[in-house]
């Protein structure tokens, strides 16, 4: 155990901090769920890439720096601390990226990753369908091979596709063996959203902004070169990184450390004498610190060669509930200003989605119970 950072890590941190101080936009960008905001966020991705900060833990040849995940955590600490924008390509970088690195061909990596790192392609995910939410294995969208075997012909519907309204590409799993059921006979496919036959219908979320969309596929043709991993093993391809790196990558602790720092500033400025709120602020600090340390533990284990198991489902539950608590505490501090438009109110609305998306917390608790606690499967 050594909870100090190495000189090399500190130098990396300093470099990141200096670059961010020089490049982070002075004014917050408009919401990425608006056309103009999306475009500005896309430009920010390009800027990040110019500095080689887009995905530091990727190999250098694909736009990364080839550093380990501990460095990525350090970069994230500096990133959030600097007030830099949200990552419009987060699904590409944190969800697709690891899967491409693990299961993609060299040709696919070369074709997709550098464009992804540079924000030239913004990706959205296509997991859920109207009848496949918590029960993701109920996927019905189909892809069949063209007669010459060169293309998939995709039909069906995906939904809750975050940022699909202005994205360029979608990745997802589709049923390629109509006779197979549940987790079998699915294939991981990547498609350009401007393909003929694709219709994107925006969905306004809780706050009214079109943060996600339905995506309809009407005999969409896509080259089989865009198959990721083995045909018929899309579930395994997707889940290989779902369990592994998503537990770490999906929400880096620095986001909450920064939120709690802002909460402390709010407490300072509030002059609140309500000791129960003070206690909640201190509780939020402990939450964020616990999550930060927990992630250091996880990454240390990974770097030591240990595999990650189903216990990463605990992370999702923890950060999503913490996020709600942090924002509820902020609203308490804001008192009779709490309901007015503002960053904390919007953050609170955003936090309410946490226990639902990326697998509801009920599903996560099932996973923890079944696979960590080894309780018998339920009916």
């Amino acid at each position: 155990m050594d909870l100090s950072f190495t000189a090399e890590q500190e130098a990396f941190r300093d470099e990141a901090r200096a670059w961010l101080e020089a490049h982070v936009p002075a004014e917050p960008l408009p919401s990425m769920d608006t056309a103009e905001g999306f475009a500005q966020h896309r430009r920010w991705e390009a800027t990040l890439d110019e500095g080689r900060w887009s995905a530091v833990w990727w190999p250098e040849q694909y736009g990364g720096r080839g550093v380990d995940l501990m460095h990525w955590l350090i970069f994230e600490e500096e990133y959030w601390r600097s007030g830099a924008p949200l990552r419009v390509n987060q699904n590409g970088i944190f969800l697709l990226g690891p899967t491409l690195l693990g299961a993609g061909t060299d040709e696919q990596k070369a074709r997709f990753l550098p464009r992804l790192a540079a924000g030239r392609d913004i990706w959205c995910q296509g997991w859920s369908e109207p009848n496949a939410g918590s029960d993701l294995a109920a996927i019905q969208s189909r892809a069949r091979l063209s007669d010459d075997g060169s293309e998939w012909i995709v039909s069906g519907q995906k939904t809750w596709c975050s940022r699909a309204v202005w994205a360029d590409w979608i990745f997802g799993i589709f049923r390629t063996d109509p006779a197979a059921e549940r987790h079998r006979g699915l294939t991981y496919i990547m498609l350009p959203l401007d393909s003929p036959g694709v219709t994107v219908r925006p969905i306004a979320k809780f706050d009214g902004e079109p943060g996600f969309a339905e995506v309809f596929f009407d005999d969409v043709h896509v080259s089989v070169d865009n198959t990721l991993g083995e045909v018929g093993r899309g579930w395994q391809v997707a889940m290989a990184t779902a369990g592994f790196e998503r537990g770490v990558l999906l929400r880096s602790p620095a986001r909450y450390v920064e939120a709690v720092r802002r909460l402390g500033v709010l407490y300072e400025s509030s002059a609140s004498c309500d000791a129960t709120v003070r206690d909640a602020v201190a509780g939020a600090w402990m939450d964020a610190d616990a999550y930060r340390l927990h992630t250091y533990m996880t990454v240390s284990r990974l770097l030591d060669g240990e595999p990650l198991g189903p216990e990463v489902s605990l992370n999702k539950i923890f950060w999503s509930e913490m996020d709600v608590r942090i924002h509820e505490t902020a609203l308490r501090l804001l008192g009779d200003q709490a309901m007015l438009d503002g960053r904390w109110l919007h953050g609170w609305m955003a936090s309410l989605a946490g226990p639902i998306f990326a697998g509801t917390n009920e599903i996560q608790r099932n996973i923890v119970a079944d696979r960590v606690l080894q309780l018998p499967r339920g009916a």
């Binding site: 939410g133 309500d274 008192g335 007015l340 438009d341 309410l352 639902i356």
Partner: protein, 343 residues
């Protein structure tokens, strides 16, 4: 001791429910949330059925009834997420004018309130700096720094709009200059009536919160019965069952506190402040918990603007935060029950 509503009170509930089913459908509430103007007809219909004059003496065309008679009506207003200023106008302003205003002001306004001809926006200091729906008010009752209540005409104020969570109602700061001519009474004379108005308003909102909570639990139940995953309705999963049962538990044990607050306000019992605050605390917590449970049960569909749930959740959040927030009312309960806080 007979702690239930009588036949007549329940029939008021049924009438207002019938009225609101027609005049305040979810589609109408949604349209106003999306920016449509509030339909004048709904307010007129409420006046016609007596809802706006319930607490106003008969000599001004009211029904001269009590908060106990109003409780179930207010609950329905919550259930239907009624956007109109029922509480500010009919529960706070009408009786406050009746208690405090000079006869000329009373004669000018109170009958109009009961008849649906006047909407009143209210700015009491205990409820914070904002005034809701000041833009569509015919009269504003505003408290000055000393505590005196003034009746101010819309032409004499400048409004600063604050976009906020509840798009179905509008939030403002009001810039105005208190004048002797607008004061209903001096600060000292006003104190008792203002305290009563604060408790009446906080009680009324508690009742609305019950109705909001009820409706959100109902929405969640409907969804849980119809939505299938893993080949079965999601409501058959114990996690969903227990989440919704816990929400119902909170609401059903907030309910008697709210109904008791109605009695305490109506009879001006010495524990009125305590009883109203306990009602407001628990109704706020229960409605917000019902919303959170309903959202979790709905999943992503409940998180969309297209679904009704967010409107009910936002209304509940704003009402829970307003009319004295949870912290203020909790501290008031503690002060009543345990004496002053220790330092």
């Amino acid at each position: 001791m007979r702690f239930l509503f009588e036949e007549q009170q329940r029939s008021v509930r049924d009438s207002v429910r019938t009225l609101l089913e027609r005049e305040c459908s979810a589609a109408a509430v949604r349209a106003e949330f999306d920016g449509a103007a509030r339909p004048a007809q709904r307010w007129r219909r409420l006046a016609e059925m007596g809802a706006l004059g319930l607490l106003i003496p008969e000599r001004w065309g009211g029904l001269g009834l009590s908060e106990v008679d109003a409780a179930l009506l207010l609950e329905e207003a919550g259930r239907f997420a009624l956007p109109d200023p029922l509480v500010d106008t009919a529960v706070i302003a009408g009786p406050l004018l009746g208690e405090l205003a000079p006869a000329s002001v009373q004669d000018r306004w109170i009958a109009d309130i009961a008849g649906g001809g006047a909407r009143v926006a209210v700015g009491l200091r205990a409820f914070g700096p904002h005034v809701v729906d000041a833009d569509t008010a015919d009269l504003l009752l505003l408290q000055d720094d000393a505590g005196a209540v003034h009746a101010v005409l819309p032409g004499d104020v400048r409004l600063v709009a604050h976009p906020w969570l509840d798009a179905g109602r509008h939030c403002f700061s009001v810039e105005w200059a208190p004048r002797d001519s607008t004061a209903l009474a001096g600060a000292a004379e006003s104190a008792r009536a203002v305290a009563a108005a604060v408790d009446r308003g906080a009680f009324a909102v508690s009742a609305q919160l019950l109705g909001l909570g009820d409706r959100m639990i109902e929405m969640a139940g409907q969804h849980a019965r119809s939505r299938e995953q893993f080949g079965r309705p999601i409501g058959s999963f114990q996690a969903v069952k227990h989440l919704l049962s816990n929400a119902l538990l909170q609401l059903e044990f907030a309910r008697p506190l709210v109904y008791r607050a109605a009695w305490s306000v109506a009879h001006g019992v010495p524990e009125r402040a305590r009883d109203v605050s306990a009602a407001k605390v628990r109704a706020s917590e229960a409605a917000n918990a019902a919303g959170r449970a309903a959202l979790q049960i709905h999943g992503a569909i409940g998180y969309t603007w297209a679904h009704d749930l967010h409107i009910w959740m936002k209304r509940a959040a704003v009402l829970a935060n307003g009319y004295g927030g949870v912290a203020w009312h909790r501290q008031r309960v503690a002060a009543c029950v345990l004496g002053p806080a220790r330092r």
